[in-house]
Amino acid sequence: MKERLEALKAEALKELAETVDAGHLNDLRVKYLGKKGALTEILRGMGSLSAEERPVIGQVGNEVRAAIEAVIEEKQANFQRQETEARLAAEKVDVTLPGRPLKQGSIHPLNQVIQEIEDIFIGMGYRVAEGPEVETDYHNFEALNLPKDHPARDMQDSFYLTEELLMRTQTSPVQVRTMEAMQGEVPVKIICPGRVFRRDDDDATHSFQFHQIEGLVVGKRIRMSDLKGTLLEFTRKMFGPNTQIRLRPSFFPFTEPSVEVDVTCMKCGGDGCRVCKQSGWLEILGSGMVHPRVLEMSGYDPEEYSGFAFGMGVERIAMLKYGVDDIRYFYNNDLRFLQQFARV
């Protein structure tokens, strides 16, 4: 019996050595080690052995089984490794081919600029106020201290619908409406973004429709120095921490004093370049202390309260920020333009 076992082992090992695939290997396992396999078959004859022989043969049987199993396991591991290698080789991809993109649209660049400015002022405690694009003559002009025969109220300069209604020429009426709604309460602290309309022929720097953001603060003892501080803070957040501002006297009917505000040119940092026409400064804001007539008309006593207001053109800021040289790009909505702003 021992000889049969040894012969079986030799035969099995020989056959295993010749095996080249995992399926055949499994067949051999069944053939030699299975329940009905050759080894079991031989060992079934153990019953006829003597009590002394039985453990000896049993041990030989175990050794044969272990030897065959060891070879099978090793083979199996080999096959698995080969299989994995083959698979890895087959699954190789060309990593230089492009991936599937996540489609991204962009918020319109003008709205991006508006949102950025809103964020800065919200951080400074301002609310965002909005109002209608069709305004009454009163709110757009009269309440802002532009008397009836003021040149800006000419039909030639504004889009009127009727004698009394027009497309707002500025976002300032929102200031008036906010003050009216607050009924003398303070502090008023708002910014008003929105679209406005003026009868300008469209060209690279003019558009009959454009956007403004205005700000208004009314309270007790609001000073011109606060206006300076506020605008300095804003421009530094918007254009960088080294930005300086410069105030130049100007005139707006709704503020007194009125000033134009220049900021350090963001392109050259003030050294002078093409963008700032070599001056080092860019004019971007109009502002001033709210005219007492405006306060009065909106229900605030100018002897008790004061305020400041400021305004800026969104398109101008967007053009400076992105280096855009034609305002019409913002309204043509050419995707090749808009998609450039699908980025932080």
Partner: protein, 813 residues
């Protein structure tokens, strides 16, 4: 206003002042200096010469040989090609070595064999502005007055040693539309005194009132009307210095009388008008308003029909002779034959002059000044000044006295300025002394105590009416750079968005991250196109601009879709075919045929989708978008806003849309179900008209979304027991909507049904005509225990029965 510094120094010393630095100072303290013009464009070594003789060039028909005395050691021989050169003239001579504008350098030369030792110059060659030259000087060499001295440098003779500051005036600073006003401003900046002209007037002999009478029949519009009578003038050119100054100011010299009125207007800011006295019927001038249809031929030769109310000057026969403050009449114009002058100086109301000037499209130097209200105190000084100049430069005899009617005498305002308010307003710490010193520089008289300064404001500063105006004056001269930088004191406020503002921003972010591109259209569109999409505005009227700039932009948009379609077309024309666009904006609605109040402005969102969902790539084919891409985007949006349960879609046939591929969107709110918008494919005919591929669009009102979005949410417990899924496929008529199947399933299944989804829909010959198969996946779950097969089977059988009962559905095996 162009301010010649040479002229300015008549009134204020500019000694030691650098013009460039002065310009910067003026700009920084209130009036922007647009440019500094150097009147000398590069002229050196040009002097006055006397043409002693002129002979024809032997070898050139068009050339002359001139012998010129230019004050040099020897006489010069100069070859000159100008037609108008003649012996006996004084002319500008560019000497050898001279330079002319444009870089021309004069050298000794031989012209056709004849030596030329210089060049006789035209005005243009000296860099003078063509447009400002008198006609006779526009061609040929410049002929100078006989009395100029030989050898005088031409630069000083023509006032070329002058720099001109261009004052860009804001509307409130019309006081600087005059040299004297500019002098006061510069005086305040430099702290220097201003010296006014002192006209020496010898009005003798005949009394003016015996020659001319005046009357005012419109006292509201004319507070003062004054004239002088000047007899025996001789019309001729004005003196060179005056011409130089007028040209520096951008005004063309014409004749002594006209030049003097212009000169004094520039000097005082008070427009004057000279009439030919002998052409004024009845020797009377009156001021009255026009009756409708009256006519007048103005100086420019045009006959003008006047609106009722236009302010006029009329003669003794009540016929119009001038448009008050705007332009004179042709008939009474000063001509070369004029001998006697009536010189007018008046204060007309600004509004009236502006109306006339606007209505007739006539803007003049005079109207520009009257419009902004002239200084009432300058009416008489300007009149006297001009009369005195006419005596000197036109040989006139000024008749005795002024003939005038005065309705209101000018008054100086006195304004109290509280020092406390000044400093509170500016955030400064300016002392009473400092404030008074600044106001003193402006020549505002100050009186009163330490804490409240009584300021007397000269009439020339009509823009200053209250204390804040004075605060501005102090601030601008104190210097805005010197105002400190502070932050607002007092209550801290919380900034932030309103709910709609925050949601609008959220929607933008969500859609852009989903691949949608935000666009921004115009609020104005073509007439009639809103009517193609009337869904959000049934019964609306179009709102038309009173004066549109073009028909393409003539009405307010009543829908975002027409504008978005235009944007789609624009992009497709540029080979951008795959578009997923959205816009958030307002549309305008009214039911009024003629607006009496503001239209309502509805915030809406529009979406437009066309082309490929995924572009063709190396690993995927291109796929066209369809209805469900658009609907899916809306569903995701509603889901995100927490509105999914409130929204429903119903097949609809809205105008402008494909009748089989569009729906109305409803929102179920506290007040019931309301229609909030439309989605669908554009009508194929509209697509064809616009040359579009299949295009899907939606437009929804945002207010209902804002109202219900983001309601408080409480989390749902995660299930602890397993679910059981049962798939079911039924054959129903093709008219049956999936939504109806689902509704029935939910109703019959009851609480155990967790979810139901359609996962397959198809039609085919096998199913039979008019039939379709819908496969659904149903998930059952109990939150407290594991369901048994029997329980689920019972419910599922009920579902199947319900479907077959309601829809005659057959179960597919």
């Amino acid at each position: 206003m162009k301010v010649s510094t040479e002229w300015l120094s008549d009134y204020i010393s500019l000694d030691g002042v650098n013009v460039e630095e002065l310009a910067e100072q003026i700009t920084r303290s209130g009036i922007e200096i647009d440019s500094i013009e150097n009147r000398n464009q590069g002229v050196t070594n040009v002097v006055v010469g006397f043409v002693k003789s002129k002979e024809k060039h032997p070898d050139a028909d068009k050339l002359n040989i001139c012998i010129v005395d230019a004050g040099q050691e020897e006489e010069l021989q100069i070859v000159c090609g100008a037609k108008n050169v003649a012996a006996g003239q004084k002319v500008p001579v560019a000497l050898v070595g001279a330079k002319l504008p444009g870089g021309l350098e004069i050298k000794k030369a031989k012209l056709r064999g004849v030596l030329s030792q210089g060049m006789i110059c035209s005005a243009k060659e000296l860099g003078l502005n063509d447009k400002l030259l008198p006609k006779e000087q526009q061609e040929g060499i410049l002929v100078l007055p006989e009395d100029v001295e030989i050898g005088t440098p031409i630069t000083s003779l023509l006032g070329l040693d002058d720099k001109v500051l261009d004052f860009d005036l804001t509307p409130n600073r019309s006081d600087c539309l005059s040299m004297i006003g500019a002098a006061y401003e510069v005086g305040a900046i430099l702290s220097r005194d201003v010296k006014l002209p002192q006209p020496e007037l010898a009005d003798t002999g005949v009394l003016a009132k015996e020659r001319v009478q005046v009357k005012i029949d419109a006292s509201e519009l004319c507070s003062r009307y004054a004239v002088r009578y000047i007899a025996g003038v001789k019309i001729g050119p004005s003196p060179l210095w005056m011409q130089n100054r007028l040209m520096a100011a951008g005004i063309r010299p014409i004749s002594n009388i006209v030049d003097i009125t212009n000169y004094v207007m520039l000097e005082y800011g008070q427009p004057l008008h000279a009439f030919d006295a002998d052409k004024i019927a009845g020797g009377t001038l009156g001021v009255r308003q026009a009756k409708a249809g009256e006519k007048l031929v103005t100086l420019d030769g045009q006959e003008r029909e006047l609106e009722a109310g236009t302010l006029l000057i009329v003669d003794g026969e009540d016929r119009p002779v001038a448009l008050a403050g705007v332009m004179g009449g042709l008939e009474t114009e000063v001509t070369e034959q004029t001998v006697n002058i009536v010189l007018e100086s008046a204060k007309f109301a600004g509004g009236s002059v502006r109306r006339t000037s606007r209505t007739l499209g006539l803007r003049s130097e005079a109207s520009q000044r009257f419009e902004k209200e002239v200084d009432p105190a300058a009416v008489i000084p300007a009149l006297d000044r001009a009369a005195a100049l006419m005596a000197v430069h036109a040989g006139g005899q000024v008749a005795q006295g002024i003939v005038e009617i005065v309705h209101r005498e000018p008054e100086e305002k006195v304004i109290a300025l509280s020092l406390q308010k000044l400093n509170d307003y500016l955030g400064t710490d300016i002392s009473s002394l400092e404030a008074k010193a600044i106001l003193g520089r402006l020549r505002f008289e100050c009186a009163g105590a330490e804490d409240v300064i009584e300021v007397r404001v000269p009439t020339r500063r009509g823009d200053i009416t209250r204390d804040v105006d004075l605060i501005e004056e102090v601030a601008r001269l104190y210097g805005y750079d010197n105002i400190p930088t502070t932050m607002i004191e007092g209550i801290t406020t919380a900034g932030g968005y309103t709910k709609p503002q925050a949601l609008r921003r959220t929607i933008r972010t969500l859609l852009t991250h989903g691949g949608w591109q935000e666009v921004m259209g115009y609020s104005f569109i073509r007439e009639g196109v809103s009517a193609k999409f009337p869904q959000l505005g049934e019964g609306d009227r179009e709102i038309r601009l009173a004066m549109p700039m073009s028909e393409d932009r003539s009405v307010l948009r009543g829908s975002l879709l027409p504008g978005m379609i235009d944007i789609a077309v624009y992009n497709r024309n540029r080979k951008q075919d795959n578009l997923a666009l959205f816009e958030i904006g307002g549309i305008f609605r009214t039911e009024e045929a003629k607006l009496t109040k503001q239209p309502s402005e509805l915030p809406v969102i529009g979406l437009l989708l066309t082309g490929d969902r995924t572009e063709k790539r190396w690993n995927a084919p291109a796929e066209k978008v369809d209805f469900f891409d658009l609907k899916g985007a809306l569903e995701s949006l509603f889901e995100y806003l927490g509105l999914a349960d409130r929204i429903s879609y119903e097949a609809d046939r809205p105008q402008g849309f494909h009748p089989g591929r569009s729906a109305s969107v409803f929102l179920n709110g506290t007040a019931g179900k309301e229609r909030i918008g439309t989605l669908g494919q554009l009508h194929p005919e509209l697509q064809r008209e616009m040359d579009l591929e299949d295009t899907y669009a939606a437009e929804l009102r945002l207010e209902p979304l804002y109202r219900y979005a983001g309601e408080a949410y409480v989390y749902q417990e995660l299930p602890r027991y397993p679910a059981m899924q049962r798939d079911i496929a039924v054959v129903v008529g093709t008219e049956v909507e999936a939504g109806a199947l689902i509704r029935t399933i939910r109703e019959t299944a009851g609480e155990l049904l967790e979810s139901v989804e359609v996962f397959d829909v198809f039609t085919g010959a096998k199913l039979g005509e008019g039939k379709m198969s819908v496969a659904l996946s149903l998930v059952y779950r109990h939150m407290e225990r594991t369901l048994t097969d029997e329980e689920v089977a019972a419910v599922h059988d009920r579902v199947v029965a319900g479907l077959s009962q309601t829809f005659e559905a057959e179960l597919r095996k």
